[in-house]
Symmetry: D3
Subunit: 288 residues, 6 copies
């Protein structure tokens, strides 16, 4: 599994440490003796899936001469009460780096855990659960990594690495273009790199034949389809264009995943994986 | 109300736009005519409190020559269906900037809306709802601003601008210090800037007299106290040190706010305001 | 055609101006009167294709209050002696910004002009001329834009937005893997985003059936094939996997383009478009 | 010989790696086993002069735990087939860093090799071959270092560290100044730091006496002089101002170097050393 | 004592080294043999208090493979002739890093030494000597650290971490506000974080009762008071608001410190500690 | 006179504003009404020479919509009580930007004023007063500009743009080199760019003939010479090498300037111009 690069992790953690202690930690540096050392345990206060060990480790290491050892690794499940990691070093540094380390690993593990629940709901089907571009500004690489830790798949990373034509694009095309959509798609596709994947969103069944007739679509997204319409749509696409992938999107909830997967779509994209995250409850306990 | 500086907003939005389109928007720039213009409406898909208008506006303006006009302003409530803002400009640019603009304003409005619900629960009391340092790495200023938009108050910004001694600090002090806690506090306080606010966390009622006897504590935090213990603690502090503020923390839920406020604490700090945020459902509709 | 963003252009030009005048232009600021104004003409000293007008304009505008007007635009052909643009403003600023502006536009127009000659050699065929990752470190977006200005197409932008398995990857797989290549490809492809294009390089005809049998390859690259082998390879791919694209690579020269295109390959990737560039001869003449 | 600082090398290589793999290497990280290790050889595919070993090494080391050992060092000549260096480490990392490392060392060795050919053409004379400010934006330090590796000399680094008055400056002075040129030069020179070298370009022989009469010129540049005029110019300068250096510039080709050097000029500045570079053919071969 | 973070020191030193040798040290790298090593001694040429050892050490270490050992540490006094530190390493690197290292440590030791003289003048009293925001742009953390090294205390760090209402604020309030000052203060204080210290400046005795009656003031600053007025002011504040701190400011000179401290003020803020600094005379001697 | 570039000024001012108000100005934004506007006057509280108008203006403009008009300009003298500039705009913004603006302009005017006193002391001679590299880390360009505003001249900017061999370099050469100094100098000079000025420091008269015999020295620095020795040294240099400049350095005080200038040296370099600066007393008064 592809991990965020050390350089990216380093940059994010440095910025976070600087944000949290722009000119030092008044509490730790004033009240704690410089010679005091601690051993601290990162413990799960609820069940979950781990994501973010490198972030936690970097938060500690970039604060001071702290040794961190993880007992579990990213992608592994754990239950409440599990010892996840141990950090040892100068007490001042461990307490200074604690909050930043927790802020990262709690959020990422929250994403991984949420993702895992969606993936579990689709278990038994061949349907992928994917993320979206509804990520926290500046943290997309981390959040997508957390989705992978939870067993999910990634969608395109950005506007630069794949085409997705959504309702708003089609609305503009309709308002401005004289020619038919299939022809517009074909012509535009001529100028794209040959490596570019093209996905088009449809809101209604009757849009499907026209879009597919362009011959340049790799994935068709069924947006906000009812289950019935989705069944019908899948059948239509499989008949008209067997190689085209089908993505379900819009109004996705955990409860609906199994039923949507049962329609035979290839992908279900879930904005909630990253746009509405509850930090997982993990705590750092000083050993006495 | 203090707003994030234009320079900070500019920096965050530029980074987010770069993350979302590192080498351009293949969809908009390839499929849409450069001459097409759109008028788009930012519409509320659920009730809420607005926060992040400057971020949305900057996301549009830094993408292209787009005019944005907000009908409501940060801190104002709205109901589902309300028109929040209108953006007009080149279709390519509006569609390129859309997701970044939404990612910011949906998250911040989510925080403001959640905060407002906690503030409402404490209505009628003199108790403040405050945020914590459990913020998204890199976005603390924005998230604290959103808390203010929702009617909440801010706690210290960072480790550098106030002292807070928590259980982990006291554990280290206990393990390392020979002298009594009150004396340690007094001595350390001698080296702090005179502008530094000192807050100390206690877990049990019996810790209160000793901590207050130091004479240097400005705020006492009652961590994970039951309601009964909290009542008792408030009475004790008011008797021993009338000028000291009292903060309730730990295990705070929306349901418990009213009862906690009724104990007479001055502050309730709520990690959930920022560590577990659901993006508010706002959408951008192209006008036909 | 997708242009480099204004923010990217701005950043590169600022860095270049800072590199070329870290603490001011001793010549212009010491010897020229501050009140002197000039009109300068950007003139072609040889035939070519224009690329880089935004860079030249930014070099001037970020140096001083200079107005630049281009007579031709990126992608257009011109012959020796053609007036390309006029710049007017304070003499000090025009002369300070001159070299940086020329360094950018001469290099990019050099790339566009070279690309156009390769594209012309493939005229009449459906074969695309594409660039590679052999670009100047830090300038990839600009250089790929210049390739587009010359009528060429872009290949994948980076290691992050498409898969390309080259001889070195296959050598590692062979040395380390127990299983057959097709199975390895299929399994690995399971974890890639569904938007990821997969390209595999082969050096010999006999590798083709095995690679194609994986069923996950979108483009097959024929590396350093003789013309005869290429003819044979194209026929083989068309028979085995009609939807797979074919790329010719390695030992490509301008003289061989027509013959290679005649084999029916879809793409010819040309490292020389960006790794061996002659700056086009453009000059800035002060009007007297 | 002065080398680019480690900090500068580090910054450029990090930016290049980030450009080439903004969110990871899909090919290496997905298809290659994390445990696979390789030994790779950097081999010359043509004759040349080495430049850029630190850049290649940094490209590898900043990608992963890779050991690089160079057999030759910057400034040394090699012939086709020579083993230049060996890199050993995790297969994923070596393949991820390969292209960036090659992009740097191929370009710089291309410059060094080209420079060496000009220097060889002037062998036997006391004439220096120098570079110009026609460098790739952002890479000037590297390219000037490569010129030194090839036996060339550097000209001024930027507009800030020496004065050079060119035709455009003189045109402005003429249009705006009432006083004679020698007096203008003398007066302006009064405000320059005493460490500033002053060079003035002339296009015609008849300009020489006036320029030299200012008494403040350290180097006189003969721009686009014919060989005959250059001979005459050298004689004139030697007579009028024996301590003044003479630089030949404009229309310099490899073929003309020997003849120009024979005129006795001190310096020949060659834009082509950096503005028109062919990357040297070096390859990285995985050892089986 | 809280030290500037290693990350902050690293950033400042790198920027300073880059400023002082943007493309290398022509003298050291051209004239000195690369194999030459030196041992250099940092020696005090006058009495003082040390501040800046980490900066000096970083200046050396970030330049080359240099070992630095300090004999004294920040905050310690020394007399003329004292050996402060020894640096050993490549001669080129030691001489390249020398000036930057000295520029930092001479300035910071100058601040510490000056501060110590003010602190000594207040010896025997309970009055703190504090710094102000009159620091060198970009170096505030360092300069405040140097003040601590000299035995002084810090005032608020920035406009973000404490309130100080000065004459200009009160003038604006008076010009714009209809309501009385105490009420304005009380109302505004409602929106501040509870950790915010509030300080108000008064110019005249008669302002004191009104300001204190607001009940929200933590520190009262007596600006430009005569000694007599200061005595009177102290008495008045102690009577009206015993818990409020008193700061003397304006027209502070070393000669007046003892007398001002004798009035019983809690704090004397001294702009001169940082706005008018004489670099302490420290020298680096090469050992022969 | 060459001014710091707008980009450099902008960058320094933004960093300073961020340092002084990392997350807003609590005082101004909380206590002052957003509608309040002020007119403020920048007034001289002592005599001096102005330097830094662009910095003051940028400090205001980058804080808010503030108009600044200067009555005098950089380099002009003023007496106590002079109105230097007027700033008008929102009260909050003017008070937020005040301290940063003053910190810059007070320091730079302090340098200009001090420089002017040294220049005045050398009046009537042809001797230049120059600065040194003993500048505040990060602010060298500004401080050298302030020296120019005071009528002084600049020395080399950095280690990269001129050679200066000091006692430490010569000590290393002596310890390591077998050959005579003149030969070492000549040989090393061969590899320097022809635009590089070479300065060598001597401590004793008897070093002069050997150094000058190298024939490559442009400036000779007499370090810590007595007045008598300086007279003798000047005579010796003028006789041996009439074109070589002579710089006096070391132990320079304002009182000795006239006598040193009278020896006929070309340059006196004064570290105190920048290493020991008293901020000039300038104040910002709100108009009522």
């Amino acid at each position: 599994m592809m991990k965020p690069s050390a350089a990216y992790v380093d940059k994010l953690v440095r910025a976070a440490l600087d944000e949290d202690a722009p000119w030092g930690d008044l509490s730790a540096q004033t009240f704690l003796p410089s010679s005091a050392r601690v051993r601290a345990q990162l413990v799960a206060r609820e069940d979950g899936v781990l994501a973010g060990e490198d972030l936690f480790t970097a938060s500690m290491r970039l604060t001071g001469d702290i040794t961190v050892r993880f007992e579990l690794h990213d992608g592994q499940r754990f239950s409440r009460g599990t010892l996840l990691a141990t950090a040892e070093g100068p007490a001042r540094d461990v307490l200074t780096g604690e909050r930043v380390g927790l802020n990262f690993i709690q959020r990422l593990s929250g994403i991984a855990t949420l993702t895992a629940s969606y993936v579990a709901a689709a278990a038994g089907s061949a349907t992928r659960i994917t993320d979206t571009r509804k990520t926290t500004p500046g943290l997309r690489q981390l959040e997508r990594y957390a989705v992978r830790c939870g067993g999910g798949h990634n969608h395109r990373f950005s506007l630069s690495d794949a085409v997705m034509l959504k309702d708003n694009h089609l609305a503009v095309l309709t308002q401005n273009g004289a020619r038919a959509l299939p022809e517009s798609l074909r012509e535009a596709a001529q100028s794209l790199p040959h490596t570019t994947h093209i996905e088009v969103e449809v809101d209604r069944l009757d849009q499907i034949p026209s879009v597919l007739s362009s011959g340049v679509v790799n994935t068709l997204m069924l947006d906000n389809f009812s289950l019935d319409a989705m069944h019908e749509g899948v059948a239509l696409v499989r008949k008209l264009a067997p190689g085209v992938l089908i993505e379900a999107s819009g109004g996705i909830t955990l409860e609906r995943i199994a039923a949507i997967a049962a329609t035979g779509v290839d992908l279900i994209s879930v904005g909630a994986l990253t746009h509405s995250v509850r930090a997982l409850d993990l705590g750092l306990d000083i050993q006495s």
